[in-house]
Chain length 324, copies 2
Amino acid sequence: MLTAIEIQKIINQKIEAIFYPTVPADLYQPIRYVLSLSGKRLRPTLALMACNLFSDEVEPAIEAALGVEIFHNFTLVHDDIMDNADKRRCQLTVHRKWSDNVAILSGDTMQIQAYQHLAQVPAMLLPKILQRFSQTAVEVCEGQQLDMDFEKKTEVTQEEYLEMIRLKTAVLLAASLQIGAWIGGATDQEAQLLYEFGSSLGLAFQLQDDLLDVYGDSETFGKNIGGDIVSNKKTFLLISAMNMATGTLKDTLFHWLNADSQQPQDKIQAVTEIYNRLGIKILCERQIASFHARAFAALDALSLPESRKATLIDYTSSLMQRQT
Amino acid sequence: MLTAIEIQKIINQKIEAIFYPTVPADLYQPIRYVLSLSGKRLRPTLALMACNLFSDEVEPAIEAALGVEIFHNFTLVHDDIMDNADKRRCQLTVHRKWSDNVAILSGDTMQIQAYQHLAQVPAMLLPKILQRFSQTAVEVCEGQQLDMDFEKKTEVTQEEYLEMIRLKTAVLLAASLQIGAWIGGATDQEAQLLYEFGSSLGLAFQLQDDLLDVYGDSETFGKNIGGDIVSNKKTFLLISAMNMATGTLKDTLFHWLNADSQQPQDKIQAVTEIYNRLGIKILCERQIASFHARAFAALDALSLPESRKATLIDYTSSLMQRQT
């Protein structure tokens, strides 16, 4: 079996080897640019690891792995336009480096390229893999729309938030694992367990991101602490606090939400203090632990030798243990 | 065999019957809206007619026909953002009626839905139909990028322009015919002839659009005459004139191209006069006739009874004969 590092090396080599026409330059240069920004390669890594659970040969899953990675990067390019984001992975976003039009059209092209890679899976598996991928892709769009809707809504429940991040983030991890498993020779039942593993894991990852933004170590987390608080981002923490706070605590919270962010540090400190008084950190940690347990219960239910599962367990556990 | 009207009725019924979730409303309402604006349904009509050439049963080609129609409408939604267009088929464009973000994301979703419909074709044909469709989709994006590039370029050759409209417009007509033919049971060679028919026909259609914008009858053409001239749009006519004009005629042309459009009628009249002096109308008509002849040569090479081809010939000929 391959290690995480070996798998990531394969993925990066394959991504670097993708051929792009030189013309039109404004269509293909942004695609090369965004795919070179690397990132964790989480989704293709999961796809190849899931394949490797059932087969020593991961080669047949590489095209599908590239497909999900390119699709994910397409969503980042378009989301960055919609969110008006300047930076992505410490580099200028495509719409800032080029223009909105270039980002729209090169993103559209990436979505097609994702399908071109996915279409290379073994023909027998093509219909069901396509169906899973397309359904997932639509769900990711639904998640992005709900995320934008929530920015304008005053009341969002925890359930609504969890459903949004399930769609926006978790289902693509889940589908990557499921598709990789199918290609490795998994039965539908086995592949479904990996889907459930990925779905719960994705929810745990996103909640951990929300948590680390407030309670993380800024050096290891690699982002400024409190960014979500400053921008009033409706994370699991803020939504929980808005729903749980009463009386003067609620007034104080809404005062800070409506305040001009002249003194971001004051706001971060004040809102964090409210979270502390409401026990939001523990609430979030419990929710993460619950999704984590659900994820590993799905993996436990998979009848494979533990040694076979070790790479996937180690890799996903290391992602969960980062920077807290 | 079905008539054009029967085919269009089937297509419109199927499009009206598409199910949309109610939530998120801003994702699905724009899709329903843009697909209800109808239009000619040219691409799905060609797909079903091509199928009907080889099979009395068009039902197996309906999902592919819907796929190409939804893909085409997706390109309109995104192109309208890029071109900053207010109206489409006399109605507000999606990005004007909602917002750029809504138009980006509902367009993205339509592209996935196009693949969901295409994935319903008979499994044996799926790999090659997907490959043709994806290649075509990338080409359409390339065409749109070239079109935007040409706006900024001072010199564009006729060849470059024809290649741009081939990509932006012709290949999707061609692929619609080819895919429909495959589903109807055509051999690869027969389907290729229909691809060539569609490709040449698409070029002829676009050049005719360029011509009608200047020389059409405003009542039957349904658009204001001279719109392309007012906006300096690099059509086949303008590109030919820019390349052919010399001396004072060239100076006059570039004077009008750089002039403020305070008096659009003066500009339309002056530029049309230049076209007349250069014989641009005849040049364009000859080019159209050449593509038309090439299209019908491909159709002639198809070994089918003429009676079988009559519907397709009548339908495409009627489109060519409109409003001149």
